[in-house]
């Protein structure tokens, strides 16, 4: 059955309330994108999320929307902090999966001739793929406890850093308040002790990129970006520890949703399992989720330190000549307490972003002071062959999308379709000819992650900019990639 969808703006579409939906859905797409999306199950997932107890405003989806499990990928939903619910599936298994960009003083010419050495150095330094250990070596439970409480700051204290001010340049300074390691199970803790500072696999990556085009000079200057600059982008999350937290909570909730009353029993997809924020289960999940988010920040921070060292070694220069500095770190699988204006009132809500990036606009006190005039940096990776973007948050995001933007290109092909389409092709050679040196632990990952498996992120950012939610600051071109 095709859902009713009506256009309410050049790039905005509404799914009217029907049945048990508590709020309408709203999706940001161009007309051409909506023509393709109309029969996609992801739209039904937007409507399904609108059934969850305590949801306010709209059930939203960003232009990189695609079919997920429970929530659509690209979904945003806010819930009243007192009366609403929390849904672990609305955060995802990879809690605080996110992206960071590290800028350098280097220009393209400084690395072009050595790019193979650089990529190899990254690959040999940063654990990738299945069971490849951690960048720190195994840590004890007491140390893990500190990771879970302190997040990025823990890694900085251990010497893993780009610049001196890395933690200030992470959302929430790289640690969520309320994190409680005691809310994690022994199994989750066990998985965390062996994975701090590891990339993982699937769509996670570390890329060497070059600033290919500056699109907003003022914001680019504020972000420290210049034409031809070498930057490093890292995409990873909370690894097995985060997966375990989500897995155990969804499993418990799936067995006892009806205990929270008929509103909870009627949720249309078991993966949308949720609990009242104020319940013991909801509260326990939030404390564990916040700890897992801190683990993810520590994870990306450790890899940052390792990456800067690896780059210095490959180029045979000192860290001081690299001039590494964290531009920003964003999380795109998260639930956070935030105050937003809703129907003219300031309300505290729990914003779930499942494949969506926070994108606060200029003047917001939650944006680091050095970026406050231009808005929060919004880091949007594309595929490994074409381009990624740095954007800045706009004021419209605060009134339209609970301060949220897209998070990536969005998949176009399923993993199996991608493998089929690339069978027999020499993918490493193809990428090399296209100017991108790739090292990947497995051919399967590479086949599933080829550029054509994804939409062009330029089409996604066209819409997000057209809708006024955020604006493009710089286009980044990949030249070296490591994957799991």
């Amino acid at each position: 059955m095709t859902l009713e969808v009506k256009q309410v703006g050049e790039f905005a579409w509404e799914i009217p309330r029907t049945g048990g939906m508590r709020v309408p859905g709203r999706v940001y797409l161009s007309r051409a994108q909506m023509d393709v999306m109309r029969k996609d199950p992801a739209l039904q997932q937007v409507a399904n999320v609108a059934h969850l107890p305590g949801i306010v405003g709209h059930s939203l989806a960003m232009p990189d929307i695609h079919w997920g499990y429970g929530f659509p990928i690209g979904g945003v939903a806010a819930f009243d902090a007192a009366e609403g619910s929390v849904s672990p599936g609305g955060v995802g298994f990879d809690i605080n999966c996110g992206v960071r960009v590290i800028t350098t003083r280097l220009s393209r010419a400084d690395v072009t001739d050595r790019i193979k050495d650089v990529v190899k150095s990254f690959y040999n330094t940063i654990p990738t793929g299945v069971g490849k250990g951690s960048g720190t070596g195994k840590i004890g439970t007491k140390e893990l406890w500190r990771v879970l409480e302190r997040g990025a700051a823990w890694a900085v204290e251990k010497g893993f850093m780009a610049g001196e001010d890395d933690t200030e340049l992470c959302e929430d300074n790289g640690a969520l308040e309320g994190a409680d390691p005691a809310a994690l199970s022994p199994r989750a803790l066990e998985r965390g002790t062996t994975q701090v500072g590891s990339l993982g696999s699937g769509n996670h990556f570390l890329e060497v990129q070059v600033v290919d085009e500056l699109l907003d000079q003022k914001a680019a200057a504020a972000f420290g970006l210049f034409q031809g600059q070498v930057v490093i982008m890292i995409h990873s999350g909370s690894r097995g520890l985060g997966h375990q937290v989500c897995d155990e909570t969804v499993s418990r909730l799936a067995r006892r949703m009806s205990a929270y009353g008929p509103d909870y029993a009627k949720v249309p997809d078991r993966q949308l399992a949720c609990a009242p924020i104020a319940s013991d289960e909801g509260n326990r999940y939030l404390r564990a989720m916040q700890a897992a988010a801190n683990f993810a920040w520590a994870n990306r921070q450790v890899m940052t330190g390792l990456a800067v060292d690896a780059l210095a070694r490959a180029l045979g220069i000192g860290r001081d000549r690299i001039g590494a500095r964290l531009l920003y770190d964003v999380c795109h699988n998260i639930a956070k307490y935030e105050t937003h204006e809703i129907e003219g009132e300031q309300r505290l809500v729990l914003v779930h972003r499942k494949g969506a990036t926070r994108a606060f606009g200029p003047g917001d006190e939650r944006v680091p002071s050095r970026y406050r005039d231009v808005g929060q940096p919004v880091l949007i990776p594309g595929d490994m062959g074409r381009q990624s973007f740095v954007l800045a948050g706009n004021a419209a995001a605060m009134t339209e999308t609970f301060g949220s933007s897209c998070h990536g290109a969005g998949r176009l092909l399923s993993r199996s379709a991608s493998r089929k389409a690339t069978r027999g092709r020499k993918l490493f050679d193809e990428m090399e000819k296209a100017g991108v040196t790739v090292m990947s632990r497995g051919m399967k990952t590479l086949a599933e992650e080829v550029p054509e498996a994804y939409k062009d992120v330029a089409d996604i950012t066209d819409v997000i900019e057209g809708a006024g939610i955020s604006r493009r600051v710089a286009r980044l071109k990949p030249i070296g990639v490591i994957k799991g």
Binding site: G92, G129, R187, R441, K444
Partner: protein
Amino acid sequence: MTSTDKETTPGTATQPLTHPQPYEEISHTADLTIEVQGADPSETLARLVLALADQLCGGGELRAHKEVRIEVEPGDLVIMAIDVLREVLYRFATRGEIPERCGVVRVDESAGTKVVLRMGRYDERLHGGGSDIKAVTYHQPRFEKTPNGVWVARVTLDI
């Protein structure tokens, strides 16, 4: 939900199945959906476990070195099947173990489910083509008898 290592080899399950078993990979944009068929709930569950195993080992040969029993609490068939898969995935993630054979001792909505697995060990040279699966989801799962009498089970895995 519990799993226990057993040093003794004889299984108590009837008609254990050995990897590989037939299954279908259903197209899903971001993740992976697997579907199996069986003559009864036991065969269906065993095939589901071995389908997950096949994804983890990338079709590579598995050499069993130990036996493991998994018991899950009573629930509907979908929830119990997912619980078994979750335990298999946890053992893979923490110990590198992948089921090579699966015997189902009991699938009973009021008494719970019990399976006996013979486990191989992940070896990157043999199993490097496998998928690094994050989790078993509850997104539109199936475990039911179809009108033509065949049992069908389907789950979506997060990659």
